[in-house]
Symmetry: none
Subunit: 197 residues, 4 copies
DNA sequence: AATGAATGAGCCTTCATTCAT
DNA sequence: TATGAATGAAGGCTCATTCAT
């Protein structure tokens, strides 16, 4: 029973995710979600009353989906290997058009911004992801330094810088437009800055 | 006549700018602009038929406003001085809440994105600004290198990297939220990377 | 212009009045009023945003309509004549089914009651009408006493008593149902209490 | 089984009564009753299919509750004593805000009125109560007259007049609003009219 | 009998857009 | 040109009522 209800909820989120990926956040209406999930207007309201709640729930259900396509690495992978893989994933994310929530996420946060809604940090998964990203990179850089692969005087600073640069690329790709070559160039520049000559 | 019409148009843009700065792009309706400019509904439609046209026109009229608050520099300013000033302006821009079009611009581009509207590069002032920013930085870096103030192996790459990082900071400030101290840290990191020890 | 707008407003109120008379207050939707006045949904909202506002406006526009059907009296009418006429009018009002706002008024006040909305006494026309009714009756009774037609020790008390009795008859007619004969009996009883034997 | 079912029915009515007392008749939805009785939606529908049916059943179950708070009278009570007590009860009823079905009853009858539903007199308990009230008062007045306490030429007429006045006070208290002092004045006026000077 | 998820009709409200003046 | 009243489509929300379990 609780089971069934949970299933439906998941089903709605699954359908909604597609809608958000396709139309962003601000363009999505309750009706869009009704249409996408083939349920009744009232039926949807049984589970969610606002688009923003649905989006928030979608974000919270993303965790599990996240590692989806990561190529697995061999045991003896070097820091450079891992960094290269990370950059490859980031590139994919930056350029991904289909099935990406990126714009929707930005729009969602702008929306919260204007509605003056604050998400408690503990529930703010995007922020957590960002900060986790910094930590992972920092550790990776330190590992690379220890292994004599990387050179970096301020691993923490470098990690932050990389994450903000990636954020900049992500948003620029959705606004100014950015070619694959340009992304490659930027990512290459970052890696160059780390690798010992 | 053309004169009069032009005046009214400018007046509308001036009023609209305030509205966009306050409410972003997506939250603004024709009615908001009518209300802000004390103009008649029909009157507005004589000049513009869509909110996006108005926003586009606001962007195109921004050029003149841009250098507004730049502190002037002495003749003999060093590259470091200029870079420091640039960073100070960027910091202001990143953290500015009032009277900033930043969110509106992102929303506008997302909107174009979903409407599949492409702006010809020549008319895309924001993109041009971004690219101009890269050029200016590149030149500045080269000047600094020549003067023995900076060290950098790839001025062009560095300039791009800085611009994307700033973009990342700007969008993060409007989504994840970012403290002044964190901005300082990031900007300091960038400068550190340039200045010779 | 202000003229035109006022005309439309009056027109809406006129149509609404019919609707309220037919369906009461609680059963009336904005759509009913739209339908009754052959204007557009949005057009109605230009003038009124809630059914209760429309009803309130209808009440406030009733004043002028009020004396509509009063039979005129000869100059030399006695207090008894006037009282008889008053009672005749009251009887009509009590039994009137078509075109009466009585139930709507009760429903409206109940509605305000539950919404905890208080009408400032000065704007509460129904209350004023009631109190005016008491004053008029009191004066009439005093006149009748002076003329030796009536006998009454407490004209003010009698006037209040009559008004509440009439109110009771009015509401009973819409709830319990009441025959014309029963109304006659009650009104006759009141008059008997005044007229000297 | 019939027993069990009856219990549940009574339980629903008990809960519903509270809801009607609090929200009137028109504001009550099936959902309100479901919520108030911790019963399932479907479960409620097994017993009642409309709010009006529930309200009707509540009214019919009120009989037993009615005499609830009547102060008991000594054996040798005079007609005046009884009348005074009656008036005291009426005053309480007129002014009672909490736990009163008064408005709900009016709304219910208005509702029937508009739905053109007629209750057969035999089942119309409110009407019967009203008529019983008249009879009781009439007898009381006659008793008072016999005992030399009251003076009244038309006990039947007086009884009806009193009941309608009380009805008027009751409805006025819920619409125009009425102070305790004003109620006292009216009730006093009625008693004055009976008691021999 | 009992449950409560699901349905869909009905109402409310806001806007972009038009058009007579 | 300018005005602003009017239109109607689009979206939001709530409830009575049904129905599979």
């Amino acid at each position: 029973m609780g089971e069934k209800s949970g299933q439906k909820r998941s089903y709605i989120l699954e359908c909604s995710r597609r809608v958000f990926a396709e139309k962003g956040f601000r363009n999505v209406t309750m009706q869009d979600i009704v249409a996408a999930s083939n349920i009744s207007r009232g039926g949807l309201y049984l589970h969610f009353t606002r688009v923003e709640d649905i989006f928030s729930a979608v974000l919270n259900s993303e965790e599990s989906r996240d590692g989806e396509s990561t190529d697995s690495l061999p045991e003896e992978a070097t820091a450079s290997d891992i960094l290269a893989l990370f950059m490859k994933e980031q590139k994919k994310e930056i350029l991904k058009k289909k099935n990406s929530l990126t714009i929707a996420i930005y729009e969602y946060y702008f929306h919260l911004n204007y509605k003056k809604i604050k998400i408690p940090p503990k529930e703010n998964l995007i922020k957590q992801q960002f900060e986790t990203g910094i930590l992972i990179l920092e550790n990776l850089i330190r590992d690379g330094i220890s292994a004599g692969e990387f050179y970096c005087e301020d691993p923490r600073g470098m990690a932050g810088n990389i994450m903000y640069t990636l954020e900049g690329l992500k948003v620029a790709a959705r606004t100014l437009g950015i070619s694959e070559a340009a992304v490659d160039k930027e990512l290459f520049y970052i890696m160059q800055g780390l690798i010992m000559e």
